[in-house]
Symmetry: C2
Subunit: 451 residues, 2 copies
């Protein structure tokens, strides 16, 4: 008989691990407990469902529950909530349809994900106030906008979810206010990206309220306005998108160690402090490739990649889960913005680097070729070693170039090496010196001069 | 007094070196001899001038001769042809306005470029038969199409110039025939790219004649048809684009060593067999990053990069010229195709690798996001080491992703490392697993299984 592999949570990390383990080693019995009904869905697509460019929520499901059961031979049980992990007996306690039972495991993966942070604002429970994390929330927002008379929207939080929802609701014709308590939107994207995104949001009619903490929401059952320190701003719908927090309570209660980020600590194979218990996805830490420190990157690719590696390990081929660079990309109306690695000077210094950076603007195509758009590229490197630490790209096209920087960051290239890469050039696709190369050239020159 | 740096040829390599040397060390006297009138122009833009999307040839000039003289303090002399190099006396013989003089140098850069290959076809001298290499040729083709009654065009050669010219002339309304003596167009892009490009060219009305050698051109002063082995194909204009050959006669006559590719051999600083004589651009060899063997890559970025590095060396900071991966990208109507590194199995084996490859097709964006287009990605790796050797990408958008592969090739990443890169994902820009990652994942799996 093969081993029993139990997975808690049927989303990206869990289903990637389940699928990979079963495919590589069909003798393993794979049981997935998912407390909801949706499995393996693209949460990142939700703003575009609200916007109206994706017809149905079911389009966001990558593989259906039925396909996992019949085609991949995975014992996927939706509506099953794991309420306890018992590492000593190697069992989990499961609640379903009002009954509870124990399931034993040889290997366990915790893929409990994260949930939207619910700030302790007054009026969070008013009708028309939403957080967005799962498909049910996206569905509710979509229906609320379609079925009620919403003219003004308030977005609380200027991270990528806030910006995507601002685009979605403004495109639907709502008048959108965006509230950010910090001085800039998209803070993790760095100083050169935020002002460009902010001007663009304003040009699209989004009213930005920076340095503006929200105190709460006011209304009589239904939200009517956002309460600030000194004023009230009317709002028919409110989306609170101030980040996510990992679902670690189940793990914590079982004595599984959490890391300094608050997510579940794991080793380079995704193992927790119990040898046969793994954690992956939005509930688990990763290791930052630049700082080598624990990091919390609740993004889809990480969940998929780490889940898959763990599945492979459990199937018999020990596979490292890899590292993360915090690479992210976001669309804001007509602009794209992307970032990777370490952009923040303080973070870089704490990790022992002496960061220097450069910001350049260069065209996305040959300057004379129709459709060329300005790209603003920031590149950060360590002054002593020249190692590329991170970068950002913002512009109307071609921001996927961040992948070149992400690859350089992972490969620990120096900025001098980055500058000499043989990247692709033809007038419809790039200037002779790709903007990434131009940035590297300038930064390399400034390091040489100061060195 | 500073040294005298003489440059032969006022295009990408020469002007990059001249500008960099002068900027870094203003004491150097920099003299550039250019036999023609155009300097520092974007030859790659020529097909788009012929196509009609770039209004003026002067748009392709990056920096004007006047700017080099006044703003960069470079003694740029157009209409000056270097007719001899005398390494023993460290002088060049220059011919201008019917007179000849000697110019001494401390450092010399040979940037004589390349010229279009003129095959020994009958009728090459007929009116309406063109090769395309410099701006004068582009101008002549443009004017010929505008001013004469051209209804049918014949393109000889299915390389990137041939394909770009096919697009240019078809877009202008000409009926285009493309003749390629090999069995596929874009041979260096590999087996998975060519058929996709060929179908697309045909869908755009380009009549492809593969495996079809041309014997010559027939007409009475003006070209009327292309002669094949068994038939004649009418043509009002013929573009012969069968590659370029380096201009090495001047160097060869002076005892400067040529390499196995036929271009000028140089060391890692761009030096020839004479310490003070450098060569760069379309007349010089480079070193392939994968095979470590001499390579001939007559492309714009290489010329710019190598020229700049040599300028920096001459200014006092020894700088390696870097390596090339043979990265190239081409637009063919609505498709883009890109390649990097080693795709050819024989070349890989000769260099001591045991190549394995994979071809996958994946969407350019999340599958549910509007505008997603299929991308076909090929990845080649060495079976033993797992090292990424090369790759190609073809599709309607997002082919600049080849830069990720090029960076991996330069950084000597394995396919397992490539698979674990933290690349950028959001639905408008990519699937969760970028197509490059998907290809790496599949190739990595196939290496593991066979290993």
């Amino acid at each position: 008989m093969g081993a029993t592999f139990v997975v808690i949570g049927g989303d990206a990390a869990g289903m990637s691990a389940a699928s990979k383990a079963k495919r590589d080693n069909p003798d393993i019995t794979v049981i997935v407990f998912e407390k909801g009904e949706w499995v393996s869905y693209a949460a990142c697509g939700m703003p575009y469902y609200v916007k109206g460019v994706i017809p149905s929520l079911s389009d966001l499901v990558q593989v259906t529950a039925e396909e996992f059961r019949t085609e991949r031979d995975i014992d996927l049980r939706t509506g099953h909530e794991v309420v306890g992990i018992n590492p000593d007996s190697k069992t989990v306690s499961v609640s379903a349809s009002g009954k509870q039972f124990e399931q034993s495991y040889d290997y366990l993966l915790i893929g409990t994900g994260a949930r939207a942070i619910e700030p302790p604002f007054d009026g969070m429970d008013l009708d028309g106030v939403f957080t967005i994390h799962d498909l049910n929330a996206a569905d509710a927002i979509h229906d609320y906008v379609e079925q009620t008379d919403t003219a003004t929207a308030a977005i609380v939080g200027g991270g990528y979810v806030g910006i995507e929802m601002a685009e979605a609701l403004a495109t639907r014709g709502l008048s959108v206010h965006l509230f950010e308590m910090l001085s800039h939107v998209l803070q993790p994207f760095g100083e050169s990206v935020s002002p460009i995104i902010e001007s663009h949001l304003e040009s699209k009619g989004v009213e930005l309220h920076l340095d503006t903490p929200v105190s709460g929401f006011v209304g009589d059952e239904i939200v009517e306005s956002v309460e600030l320190e000194a004023e009230m701003v009317p709002a028919d719908i409110v989306i609170v998108g101030v980040g996510v927090t990992p679902n670690v309570e189940l793990a914590d209660a079982a004595g599984i160690e959490l890391g300094e980020t608050g997510a579940i600590a794991t080793d380079e194979y995704g193992r927790t402090n119990y040898d046969e218990i793994f954690a992956a996805g939005d509930c688990a830490e990763t290791t930052n490739v630049v700082t080598a420190a624990p990091d919390y990157v609740p993004l889809a690719l990480t969940a998929n990649r780490v889940g898959r590696a763990i599945g492979q390990t459990i199937a018999g081929t020990p596979t490292k889960i890899g590292t993360t660079a915090g690479t992210a990309i976001v669309k804001a109306f007509d602009l794209g913005a992307a970032r990777t690695g370490i952009l923040d000077e303080t973070v870089a210094r704490t990790a022992g680097f002496d960061p220097v950076s450069v910001e350049i603007t260069a065209p996305s195509r040959a300057h004379y070729y129709p459709g060329a758009e300005d790209l603003t590229v920031t590149l950060v490197a360590d002054k002593q070693s020249g190692r590329v630490l991170g970068g950002s790209v913002v512009g109307r096209e071609g921001v996927k170039r961040i992948d070149t920087v992400a690859t350089a960051v992972h490969a620990e290239l120096t900025v001098a090496e980055l500058q000499q890469l043989d990247l692709a050039y033809a007038p419809p696709f790039s200037p002779v010196w790709d903007p990434i190369l131009s940035a590297a050239r300038v930064l390399s020159g400034s390091i040489e001069k100061s060195g």
